[in-house]
């Protein structure tokens, strides 16, 4: 497999550096493969531990319990990473809104009208379902982001006029809610992200909904790839914009 892959890249002459890289990587791969082969299959995992503590977590789905309760710290930082990605994208460019206003074909419009509400519905369904079956903030947020992308590529005429301030608030909603819940838990029950047992289910669903909204907006904003006009400091008339805005 690996011997045939680089064939197209060695065009004129074989670069000795490329050969060196190839052999180094082949060696590393062989060692890793040997490790995998001698590793015991069916390793004992953490599923029994998770199943034992599942009733304390407030949700019935083990993956959601691991994500938001047992390893909530990871997920908090991960939501922050998403937020940072948007900040990074926004600090690089402005939104190049290649809109073709008034040029939307009726098929496209019908598709948006059919699919976008359904996507919102499915996103809400996934977030709600995350407490007991598969689903959750990330899946719901991804579907929400898909709806945002659908509206963005349709170049709906109201999209560039989405005001920047609610967009920013929506982006920050997930991290802020998550962090405030964590701090509230610190005050209430004496530990960072140690949820009180009675309110755990409600808090987890709250966090999930806020994070899903934020993740959806984040993905849509990442798709636009640039910060919106209408800054906080410099007030400009909007010629381009971003985000799917307020649902």
């Amino acid at each position: 497999m690996l011997t045939t892959a680089p064939a197209k890249y060695r065009r004129k002459r074989i670069d000795p550096l490329v050969v060196l890289v190839f052999f180094l990587l082949a060696g590393v791969t062989a060692m890793l493969g040997r490790t995998i082969c001698i590793m015991p299959q069916q390793m004992p995992g953490l599923e029994n531990e998770v199943a034992r503590h599942l009733h304390n977590s407030g949700v019935a789905s083990p993956v959601t319990a691991v994500l938001l309760n047992f390893r909530g710290y990871d997920t908090l930082l991960e939501v922050m990473v998403l937020f940072l990605a948007v900040l990074g994208v926004w600090s690089l460019t402005r939104a190049t809104f290649v809109g073709y206003m008034g040029d939307v074909s009726p098929v496209q419009l019908a598709m948006v009208r059919l699919l976008a509400p359904f996507m919102f519905l499915v996103a809400a369904y996934l977030v709600w379902q995350g407490s007991h079956l598969a689903g959750g903030a990330f899946q719901g947020g991804a579907v929400l982001g898909g709806a945002g992308v659908l509206m963005l590529i349709t170049d709906l005429p109201w999209l560039p006029m989405v005001p920047a301030r609610p967009l920013r608030c929506g982006l920050a909603l997930g991290p802020v809610v998550f962090l405030s819940v964590a701090l509230g838990c610190l005050i209430w029950s004496g530990g960072f992200l140690v949820y009180p047992l009675q309110a755990a289910a409600f808090l987890l669903v709250l966090i999930e909904a806020a994070c899903a909204l934020s993740i959806g907006l984040t993905l849509a904003a990442l798709f636009v790839g640039g910060r919106p006009y209408g800054e906080l400091m410099e007030e400009q008339p909007y010629e381009g914009g971003s985000g799917q805005g307020d649902e």
């Binding site: 069916q42 998403l82 690089l92 790839g225």
Partner: protein, 108 residues
């Protein structure tokens, strides 16, 4: 007969190696981003295949949660990298080749 875990683990390994090789060797920026995505897919495949149990036993949820966060992080990193690549191409093209267009392409 090879077990399912082993099969998918080895596939993940080969994907990782393939992506790493292409990441080092290829020159086009978009291809590098694609290669790093392939690498991350390989790692995810390896992680999830350790959680898989043949038969109807319980599935280990911890690797699933890790892979779930990993997927979302990798897509945001990909988006950031794509914007960076676009900026690199814009600026390098403008400064190297067409200096007279600099004012209207990088004016924003």
């Amino acid at each position: 007969m090879m077990s399912t875990n082993l099969l998918y683990s080895l596939t993940g390994l080969v994907l990782f190696a393939l992506g790493l090789y292409a990441l080092i060797v290829c020159s086009h920026l978009l291809r590098k981003i694609l290669a790093s995505n392939i690498m991350s897919s390989g790692v995810f495949l390896m992680l999830v295949s350790t959680a898989y149990r043949a038969g109807n036993g319980k599935i280990d949820p911890v690797p699933h949660a890790m892979v779930l966060t990993g997927i979302v992080v990798s897509v945001s990193a990909t988006a950031l990298a794509l914007v960076l690549a676009c900026r690199v191409q814009e600026t390098s093209n403008v400064t190297l080749v067409r200096e007279e267009y600099q004012h209207d392409t990088s004016g924003a």
